[in-house]
């Protein structure tokens, strides 16, 4: 049964960075701003987390500063798209190019170093003693617990508090929101910032725990998967829990399935295919099925 614990553990490890990225991007998009720079912010998060942890000897310092770096980058995107009304898609692509390039440039001197101050698994008292479940769910890295907690808290704020109503109003109809006295720009800036911080943390999780060494290009397209997972999760961070870990398991299984009856690349296509399907379902308003896609997503708001 240990292999069972092991493989489920791997699912959770692979899904956690996707979850962190996804719940952050949901906030940016719900406020009406599409940030395609997740891949770049994750890359910078990964290298800054690694570099700060390596030089200070403390993974937590790396983790927190990685979040700051992701946030800093997202503010560039926010300035260009919100204040200067630039095309969000192109700005996001620029952010990804810049972030990926910068991470490779900074990371050059860290290539091949195995990180010593990495996150260790923490067993939660009592809960971890439950057979199987305890070992799978409650003997994990601290970031795993943080990610789960954040997903729940983010969901609560978005759908059960006044703040959530304000954010969603900005993404649905910013003009109306503004006339109701909401500072739309401030809300959008904040939400893009939340997305950036989460992407930075997601990247740091990869370099501080998942693959604790620096490899150029180690984010390997996860930032783009996050964009698909946001749609797949229908802009809802509780649903993201499900879709991110489902895809995390596909990620792990691709290696196991190599050469078997089921071609793993077809599985890897799934998040993108399902994302397009969700968009098609979303467009059929007659189905009366709400996916939660923000109406004003991708459009600059002009006062």
């Amino acid at each position: 049964m240990t292999w069972f614990v092991l493989i489920f553990g791997r699912f959770l490890v692979a899904g956690t960075p996707l979850l962190l990225g996804t719940i952050g991007e949901i906030y940016a998009e719900k406020a009406g701003n599409l940030n395609l720079g997740v891949e770049g912010m994750m890359a910078v998060g990964a290298i800054s987390g690694f570099a700060f942890a390596h030089n200070t000897g403390n993974p937590w310092i790396g983790f927190i500063l990685a979040g700051c770096m992701g946030g800093l980058l997202s503010l560039v995107h926010a300035f260009v798209t919100i204040s200067l009304r630039a095309n969000q898609v192109v700005s996001g692509l620029a952010l990804t190019m810049f972030g990926v390039g910068l991470s490779g440039f900074i990371g050059n001197e860290y290539v091949g170093i195995s990180l010593v101050p990495r996150f260790k698994n923490v067993a939660i008292p009592f809960l971890s003693e439950i057979p199987f479940v305890g070992e799978v769910l409650f003997t994990r890295s601290p970031v795993f617990y943080i990610a789960i907690l954040l997903a729940v808290v983010f969901w609560y704020i978005m759908f059960r508090t006044k703040w959530g109503i304000i954010i969603r109003a900005c993404g649905e109809n910013p003009k109306t929101a503004e006339s109701a006295g909401i500072n739309v720009y401030r809300v959008q800036y904040t939400c893009v910032l939340i997305g950036g911080v989460c992407a930075g943390l997601a990247g740091a999780y990869i370099s501080l725990y998942y693959i604790p060494t620096w490899i150029d290009g180690m984010i390997a397209g996860r930032g783009w998967i996050v964009i698909a997972l946001v749609i797949l999760s229908q802009w809802n961070s509780l649903k993201a829990l499900f879709s991110c870990y489902l895809f995390g398991s596909i990620y792990v299984l691709q290696y196991a399935l190599q050469g078997s009856f089921l071609n793993p690349t077809l599985l890897l296509m799934m998040p993108y295919l399902t994302a397009v399907t969700v968009l098609i379902v979303d467009s059929k308003k007659t189905l009366k099925y709400k996916t939660g896609s923000p109406t004003h997503l991708g459009e600059p708001y002009i006062k």
Binding site: L93, F98, G101, N263, L279, I302
Partner: protein, 364 residues
């Protein structure tokens, strides 16, 4: 506190636009230099290494031109759809599908055909496959009003996974010692290259011809006028009887098709087989977005900007070999130039006017 207002700029002279574009590139290079400096790398040396690598020797020029071929093709097509404000960021996927189409015809359907017929047929297949891949988001936009950016982006990854499926699965070569690519094309299908280079002349010629065709189409025909009206003011276009849906579909057929041609050219001229998506295209579909933008959506200017960014790609190899930084470092330049282009576009479209005391400080 100074009060100000953002106003739409009515007159935009070409000189002003060109100045802003050049300033964007200069600012991008400047900020990149600062980043290099902060990291203890002499920025002047890094820049000379990059540009000497791509423009400082005959070999460098050959490589630069080689890398600019797909950029010219894709960039010209993007000028058309971007002019209609249709944000096709799926050229990468359309290029990959073009490569699939060319391989299907050249390796599986008609391998015995005379090369004089088969090569044009493979290019045609590349065009058609790319066009079909581009048609999907256009139809979804026209019929169901689905945002094209996400769909084109997703289709990039679907195309890449599809190629991986082919080269690890049904199309895996029998003569490649288990490596994940298809068998090589027949030697007679390899495109002629400029002596001692990888410049596949036919594709280059096709690219330049299509750049001119796209320019003519966009700026000298009624259809091109309708495209630009659709982009500038869709409401006005609708009232004057322009069929937006027709324009988007036709535009994406061209844009996707040209990206597909680029894909066919890459595998016919350089790789001679279908291989890893990352090998076939080093992000040409994304770089072409900057190329088109910096070329002010003018396909003729795109030829020049393509050579510049082709040079940057080659420069990436130069700083890898001489300074030891990874090839991705060059993306710093791409990203920064794109950011400054966006900032520059703001100043082309709007101006900020300081207000005197009696005016109301409303931002338009």
């Amino acid at each position: 506190m100074a009060r100000w207002r953002i106003e739409k700029r009515e007159k935009k002279s070409l000189g002003f636009v060109l100045m802003i574009l050049l300033l964007s590139v200069a600012s991008g290079l400047l900020v990149a230099s600062i980043i290099f400096f902060l990291r203890g790398v002499n920025p002047w040396m890094a820049l000379t290494k990059i540009f000497a690598g791509s423009f400082g020797s005959v070999y460098g020029w050959k490589e630069t031109i080689t890398k600019s071929i797909p950029l010219i093709l894709i960039g010209s097509g993007l000028c058309i759809v971007f002019s209609a404000k249709f944000w096709n960021i799926g050229a990468e996927g359309q290029l990959l599908m073009g490569a699939v189409g060319a391989t299907l015809f050249g390796l599986f359907l008609f391998p015995k055909l005379n090369p004089a017929i088969l090569i044009p047929l493979m290019f045609l297949a590349g065009f058609i496959f790319g066009a079909i891949w581009g048609l999907i988001p256009a139809l979804l936009k026209v019929k169901l009003k689905i945002n094209e950016t996400i769909v084109t982006l997703m289709l990039n990854y679907i195309a890449a996974e599809f190629i991986l499926f082919l080269i690890y699965g049904p199309w895996k070569g029998k003569t490649q010692f288990g490596f994940p690519y298809t068998d090589n094309f027949a030697k007679s299908l390899y495109l002629k290259t400029f002596p001692e280079s990888r410049v596949h002349i036919i594709t280059l010629a096709i690219g330049i011809v299509f750049a001119i065709v796209c320019w003519f189409l966009l700026y000298k025909t009624k259809f091109g006028y309708e495209i630009r009206i659709t982009g500038a003011n869709p409401e006005a276009g609708k009232y004057s009887g322009i069929k937006t849906s027709k324009i988007l579909i036709f535009g994406m057929l061209i844009s996707g098709g040209l990206a597909g041609l680029a894909g066919a050219g890459e595998i016919l001229g350089i790789h001679h087989r279908l291989c890893q998506p990352l090998t076939i295209s080093s992000g040409y579909g994304f770089t072409a977005i900057i190329v088109a933008w910096l070329g002010n959506l003018n396909p003729i200017l795109v030829v020049i900007t393509s050579i510049f960014f082709g040079g940057l790609l080659v420069g990436g190899d130069a700083i890898k070999s001489s300074l030891g930084f990874p090839h991705a470092t060059i993306e710093i330049f791409n990203g920064l130039i794109l950011f400054f282009l966006l900032i520059g576009t703001f100043f082309i479209q709007y101006r900020i006017r300081l207000l005197n005391k009696n005016e109301k400080g409303i931002k338009s």
